[in-house]
Symmetry: C2
Subunit: 142 residues, 2 copies
């Protein structure tokens, strides 16, 4: 499990700088359970850093992605969403409102992975599992 201290140590070890903007974005992404897009992250961080720019938000998110600290998840509405949780899980993406929820299903997921390894003979290092559909709220309005 990743926490702020781990990440700061990681950045320090690799000689990247610990800036207040980076800390604020990391802290927010670690504590939130929604999968915010860049605009939403900007709105939140702006409360503490009124001078922050979208460019910095995007650059920081890209930097953190390259550090393996977060994942960038594409959506069909054109706005990418970001998540710091990189544990094995499934993303549920609502094709109507764009909301993303995490679902954990270790047992069947591991079973699937084992079957796939058997059939493909691949050495798997990561996975991206996304189900698209209508969330609880949106399916009521169909």
């Amino acid at each position: 499990m990743k926490n702020l201290t781990n990440i700061i140590t990681l950045l320090r070890d690799k000689n990247f700088r610990i800036t207040p903007q980076r800390i604020a974005i990391i802290k927010y992404l670690l504590k939130t359970d929604v999968h915010p897009n860049a605009e939403e992250i900007y709105q939140v961080i702006q409360k503490d850093f009124p001078m922050i720019s979208m460019a910095t938000v995007y650059k920081t998110l890209d930097f953190l992605k390259n550090m393996g600290i977060l994942h960038k998840v594409g959506t069909s509405n054109g706005k990418n969403r970001f998540e710091a949780n990189i544990e094995k899980h499934v993303n549920m993406i609502c094709t109507k409102c764009g909301k993303i929820e995490d679902v954990y299903e270790q047992i069947v997921l591991s079973q699937l992975e084992n079957e796939i390894i058997k059939k493909s003979n691949y050495h798997i290092v990561s996975r991206r599992i996304e189900f698209y559909g209508y969330c609880k709220n949106c399916k009521l309005k169909l």
Copy 2:
């Protein structure tokens, strides 16, 4: 299983027009096993319809999406991908040589989907399952 005749009948029944551009896009999406983006669809259709515009491609894709004939899948590179063949399968992506293989695992995949539906309460319409790693050949050279 969807085929061209079904779709033409569906459009005719709903009083939408059967245009050569629409037919060409539907035919291509039905026969391809990649998940093309708008630009790739445009390139292919352009061979037979040099006058077709991106606007028509986008309008047609949006129209077909609303008809339930295809799905629009967001990606983190900003380009949406479109798929008409919605069979359940897993994409194996080799991070070394870039090869993509389809693996079918109906039983465990259905089991996973059922568990996920139970836990999330989503109405699922499509799925994207990608495993990243080293293929048979590339893992030998590690």
